[in-house]
Symmetry: none
Subunit: 123 residues, 4 copies
DNA sequence: GTGGTCTAGACCACC
DNA sequence: GTGGTCTAGACCACA
């Protein structure tokens, strides 16, 4: 699990996304303290300000909160995390339908094909 | 329906993709003559060689063929087009499951959510 | 059976070759009168001088002879034709071995593969 | 072992063919690094893009692969090479039979003559 | 240094 | 006019 960015979008955006994913996946578990901004920035080979900005975004979203003295923590609000996870999942589903419609599949047809695909390959 | 490219991938690749989509969508119908390389290149603000390369790739895939003197045509092989469409759809489905699993959804859970999403929003 | 030429060799050479093949194949049978130079030239879309030169070459080889008044004839010397045919066949065989050796086949190996190929496909 | 091209076919095609032969012949051994595109282009007195195109074709065929930073290599898949060699050999054999039939030889007769030719001359 | 991509501009054969 | 090929020269990412 390492950091990598594409160049066509702002890096802080991509960082926020990936941290979000890590929280949802439980890599940064609920209520846990995050590594320091400096550490994370070094890890991602990114300017601390950039990392700071990404984390601030997540804080604004309520996924993180800061204790002045001791650092930054993942929210303990499981419900919140569940909501965000659900929201992301819906985006993914929307994108799925969008791209299938681009290929000329109706939504039910798209679902049908997904079911078949799911049964078969796991590669 | 216009041309736009992101900068993180080769342009000719993106052109090939988009033309492929247009063929599948029937914007360039089966057996139809494509605009000339020069026209398409101008339309996409791209060097003719770049357009040429993209189309040559599709030709290699069997989606297009050239009539040396009169132009380039979409294959008449409907089955071929159907195959490619199906292949693309499967990729999209695979990606869907992959990203849902990243969010901690099993495949059946992912499908369930998609069904719900489908019922609701059309945004 | 029509005339066509590649551009990398003198045309009269190619004409001579093809006429030779026609004689060997019996398209211009032994002892028969050839069409006139003008006719042949027109047929092959070639300058009569070019056709003339090709036929003169074949005459020098003894495959054709001219009767001043009545035209040009294929030799009646079957043995001659058989010799030339045999010579050409040997060239073809030589070329076969040469190219197979280029691919790393010894002559016996080349023969073996030819026998196998012969048994199978007639495409 | 030098580079020379005829003018009736695209140069990149001929380059691809000759490189293929060199691989089959072991001049570029299995798994070995090829000279760089620029070197080969200079060697063949050809534009680097042209050489690039030829090699890309062989890459598509699976005979070569690129290590983005360090160079281009011959595949390590001996079986692949053997297949291609065998395919080429069959083409050569087919051509042999075709030209012999043009001369009025049946396939068995053609084989017989080849055997005799093989015993005799090595010129 | 490596491969890869792109542009600009030219020429060819075909009809 | 069409597609196809080739050259020259540039730039990029990677290491």
């Amino acid at each position: 699990m390492t950091w990598q960015f594409s160049e066509d979008r702002a890096i802080y955006t991509q960082i926020a996304e990936q941290v979000k994913l890590r929280i949802i996946a439980g890599i940064y578990p609920v209520g846990t303290r995050l590594p320091s901004v400096r550490e994370l920035a070094a890890e991602a080979s990114v300017n601390p300000n950039t990392m700071q900005r990404a984390l601030a975004d997540l804080e604004r979203e309520g996924l993180l909160y800061s204790e002045r003295t001791s650092g930054r923590y993942v929210t303990e609000d499981c419900e919140k995390i569940r909501q965000i996870r659900h929201g992301l999942a819906q985006s993914v589903a929307k994108e799925f339908f969008f791209r299938m419609e681009q290929l000329g599949y109706t939504r039910p047809q798209a679902l049908k094909l997904a079911e078949e695909t799911e049964e078969q390959g796991n590669e």
